[in-house]
Symmetry: none
Subunit: 295 residues, 2 copies
DNA sequence: ATAAAATGATCAGGAAGACTTACCATGACG
DNA sequence: CGTCATGGTAAGTCTTCCTGATCATTTTAT
């Protein structure tokens, strides 16, 4: 019923109009002149009406042709737009990645990563949000974000993860605290000191130091508040090194050596679902960036 | 640089999505299944990115594919429209308009409009379908129809709209309902009465009467069912006047005066795309018809 | 007026592409 | 463990499309 108008003949028609003749159009399209003739005839047959006035030697549109031409032009333009956009999307020159990361990574690692990424892929839109590790994992599972950077808790069915770096756990206290002078600490040395729990405290769970958590009466989730409490000398806390702001001159970070604890930070994405081109580029970039940085 | 996307492979892709599998698509397109596979592979090669997830047995789009699919669908729809229009024009049927309208307009306004239109333009084919307001807008955007008559929700980028008329919102209840005797109503007077929500209830959102919706336990989308519920005295509802069938002798329409609410009905078409002659004629006709009718 | 040039149309042959038939690999299910 | 579904692959056939040569007609130049 409705004939299938192929794009090439339409392009021929438009080229004839733009270039002002069959021969010129042929040259413009890098085709031979008969090809143009045939394309036009094919179109005319499909539509059941002549597009060009016959008889006189010149290329002149029929009224029907005049009616068709702008629509054909629009259609071809539409095609080119779609094709170009898809091409741009496929080759990472456009697109969008949504990322979630735990706060420490978001504030200390991502700025550098994103700076070099936007430099390399200027067309890609990026959205970064932070949340605690389980929230990050959940956002990846639900598809709210495509990539997550978070603690590798335990292998989850729906997630695919790549380890990125190890982050050592240590004790944070004020510089004048008795523990501040140590080079490293055994967990027993913490007993008796007021311990403030925070969002990363669950990293102690399952280790010999787990018992310490039960003695702790304070839980502070906000990092700013936590820092203020530590500076006020209200107690000590445990943090991964990455989450400790090393610039703080009144606070000290002392690694826990027995047990030596660390969280493994990794890049997670949904399993069995391939990433968008933009997200794949981001994934490669993150991994390359951290690989470089290790050396 | 920009690959030439042929239409047939695009159709294959869409058929796979719509029919839910390669085999089903093949049957639908009267092709063999390998042809579909090859078409998809051809597309993927041109774009440089896979469109379908490999490995698992099911036909699942990659994110890139999900991004592409709606654009491809739009492009194919555009082609079909151009092809159909040209075909119609070639066969002296002078044209064709596809219109979508919200149900109230389709049932109460369009009969009169179309009656006079076919009288004036006997050669033009008309197709009218109805759907809720967002569906109408979407059909215009995708090019499934050229003209839409719908609630002007908020100005949309891809759409061009012309206001046609204002449609007052009111309360509909049975004639023996306590509210039926009023000439107009303040929204507070509705509290305590069982309110049935319907497809037009979102018109109350953002107004003082919005709170009423939360008390409502019933949502009925079908107008016939809604009328039956009202006649049974199960509750009251709000409707634009145009959606209320004035012939109903057991139901009453009482305007809401505080707040006075109205939906603006308008004629929408795609922006930056010229209408077919037939659609342009229809657009002029609709506007003239309603201008006449106001007086 | 006549030759020269340019227009588009036509035809046969060949290269490229698309479709089909037949067969293969894999995963779900009883 | 076999059966049925999925989609992927390979070789052969057929169609489509393009080219090169040639023709008919009109326009232009001498």
């Amino acid at each position: 019923m409705t004939p299938e108008l192929k794009l090439q003949p339409l392009r021929c028609l438009l080229a004839i109009l733009d270039q002002g003749g069959f021969h010129a159009a042929a040259k413009h399209l890098h085709r031979s002149q008969p090809a143009i003739s045939m394309a036009v005839r094919d179109l005319e047959e499909r539509l059941g009406q002549p597009l060009f006035e016959k008889g006189n030697g010149k290329a002149l549109l029929t009224p029907f042709g005049q009616w068709c031409a702008p629509r054909f032009r629009e259609l071809v333009a539409h095609h080119d737009r779609v094709s170009r956009d898809a091409q741009a999307m496929a080759s990472h020159r456009a697109g969008r990645v949504d990322i979630a990361a735990v706060p420490s990574v978001a504030s200390r690692l991502m700025p550098g990563i994103l700076a070099s990424f936007v430099n390399e892929y200027p067309g890609i839109e990026i959205s970064l949000q932070d949340g605690h590790s389980e929230l990050v994992a959940q956002m990846v599972v639900t598809g709210e974000v495509e990539l997550g950077i978070t603690s590798l808790w335990q292998p989850q069915e729906a997630l695919e993860s790549t380890p990125l770096l190890h982050d050592e756990i240590g004790v944070v206290c004020r510089e004048d605290h008795p523990l501040a002078a140590h080079q490293s600490l055994h967990w027993r040395e913490l007993t008796g000191h007021a311990l403030i729990r925070n969002g990363t405290s669950r990293l102690l769970e399952g280790s010999p130091a787990e018992g310490l958590l039960e003695q702790s009466a304070l839980y502070i989730s906000n990092m700013i508040s936590l820092t203020a409490m530590l500076e006020a000398g209200i107690g000590i806390t445990t943090l991964p090194r990455l989450a400790f702001q090393e610039e703080h001159d009144r606070l000290r970070f002392v690694p826990l050596s027995k047990p030596r604890l660390e969280r493994r930070i990794g890049l997670v994405s949904r399993a069995n679902v391939s990433l968008s081109p933009a997200a794949a580029a981001m994934q490669r970039h993150v991994m390359a960036y951290l690989e470089d940085r290790k050396t």
